[in-house]
């Protein structure tokens, strides 16, 4: 599904080789946050590798047309470390934005599904609240729900435990474990400790 042959970036200096199959759970540890960010940029084609080749669903990201790249991104759900939410629209609008834009399903069904997912994630806040009113964990939940709503083939978690308590990590991991059963999951983590913690639960 995704394979890399000797890729490097501006910050990632060691050549990376990997091959991620459909349904696989892959973990990448970057202790330097900037490296993790760069790796995410490379994965989703926001940046070209300095050297090496990266193939995404058989397409070489270096030579891909912009339109095709946007098509590929439709299939990827990214949970950014900050949530990656848009501040000038409300929480529910954030959740529905990519799914509605990509016309994943009928509007009413998407709305119902979003509410159901929010309940699954035990989201207690107001669905129409402003983004700045959300806690770190809530932002991540909203990003997860937003990602799931597009029926992704791949989910990328960028430093999923950053800025949340131990207790919240446990809880979040148990939820990720449930939702990621048939999903290709790529997690960008900050330490070996996080990796063992994560791998023990999600595999």
């Amino acid at each position: 599904m995704i394979s890399a042959i000797g890729i490097t970036g501006d910050l990632i200096r060691d050549k990376m080789n990997f091959n991620i199959q459909k349904g696989q759970k892959a973990f990448f540890v970057f202790e330097e946050e900037a490296q993790g960010e760069e790796f995410l940029d490379l994965l989703i084609g926001m940046k070209s590798p300095k050297s090496g080749e990266l193939f995404f669903m058989g397409q070489n990201l270096r030579h891909i047309r912009k339109d095709k790249l946007f098509e590929i991104r439709k299939k990827i759900a990214i949970v950014f470390k900050t949530g990656g939410l848009i501040n000038n629209i409300r929480t529910l609008e954030n959740i529905l934005l990519p799914a509605l834009y990509h016309r994943i399903a009928d509007k009413e069904n998407l709305y119902r599904e979003a509410i159901k997912l929010l309940e699954t994630f035990e989201f207690k806040g107001d669905y129409m609240c402003k983004i700045e009113e959300l806690t770190n964990l809530e932002r991540r939940i909203i990003a997860l729900v937003r990602g799931l709503l597009i029926k992704p083939e791949i989910m990328i978690l960028e430093y999923p435990f950053q800025g949340i308590s131990e207790e919240q990590r446990e809880w979040l991991l148990s939820k990720i474990e449930k939702i990621s059963k048939n999903l290709t999951l790529i997690s960008i983590l900050s330490s070996q400790r996080e990796y063992h913690f994560f791998k023990g639960k999600v595999n």
Partner: protein, 224 residues
């Protein structure tokens, strides 16, 4: 009702630029109409309705209407667009949008461009109507000539070509103003201190462009 996200951004832009600015545009139009008539009367005296009608119509319809509306839109919506887009860029929100497979030109740029252009046209019509009404009202009040007689004097001077020029100007002004503001908004690089700088550049660039386009259109229409 759940709308497509792009349509929603477009409607929000029209609401902010076109609907929320309606009161300021109408009041400005009324006052401008009053001022123009008072100035005409100070030059020509209070005698001729037809001269007053002609001057009022030409100034309001072809020049002041599109120009003033564009300036109101530039200072009000233009600065808001620069600030909003610049904040989004610095907050990496444009990056997030792209990462979700959403084209920024479709979701962010086009709705603002079309929304402002459409609003410029509609607001210009309101401005012109308010200015003509205000002008005729004060003229009737000061000269004792009836309101309908003054209105008729204006309608006698009314040509479709002038309306077409006014519409063309409004569309061009709206499009240019939004384009300049969008460009400055998405051109910020790293620091929040760039936002006021970009806003200032957008406003000065916008004013200059409005006047330049006005001159060009006037020149071309004079030649035709």
């Amino acid at each position: 009702m759940i709308l497509s996200p792009v349509i929603e951004v477009l409607l929000r832009q029209i609401y902010f630029t076109g609907v929320q600015a309606l009161s300021i545009v109408i009041f400005s139009g009324l006052f401008i109409g009053l001022i123009i008539v008072l100035q005409i009367m100070s030059i020509t005296g209070s005698g001729s309705s037809s001269i007053m009608g002609k001057i009022l119509l030409v100034i309001v319809l072809k020049e002041i209407g599109p120009l003033f509306t564009a300036l109101i839109i530039l200072t009000r919506s233009g600065s808001a667009i620069v600030t909003e887009l610049a904040t989004m860029k610095l907050g990496r929100e444009i990056y997030y949008i792209e990462a979700m497979g959403i084209k920024p030109e479709v979701y962010l740029i086009k709705p603002r461009l079309y929304g402002v252009t459409f609003s410029a046209l509609v607001l210009c019509v309101y401005f012109q109507l308010a200015a003509l009404f205000g002008g005729v009202f004060i003229a009737s009040f000061m000269t004792g000539v009836s309101f309908s007689e003054n209105m008729n004097a204006i309608f006698d001077q009314f040509y479709l070509k002038d309306v077409a020029i006014a519409f063309l100007k409004s569309l061009m002004f709206g499009f240019t103003v939004s384009l300049i503001c969008i460009w400055h908004g998405i051109s910020v690089k790293k620091s929040t201190t760039e936002i006021p700088q970009r806003t200032t550049k957008a406003l000065t660039g916008g004013i200059f462009s409005i006047f330049l386009i006005d001159v060009i259109i006037d020149f071309i229409t004079k030649m035709i």
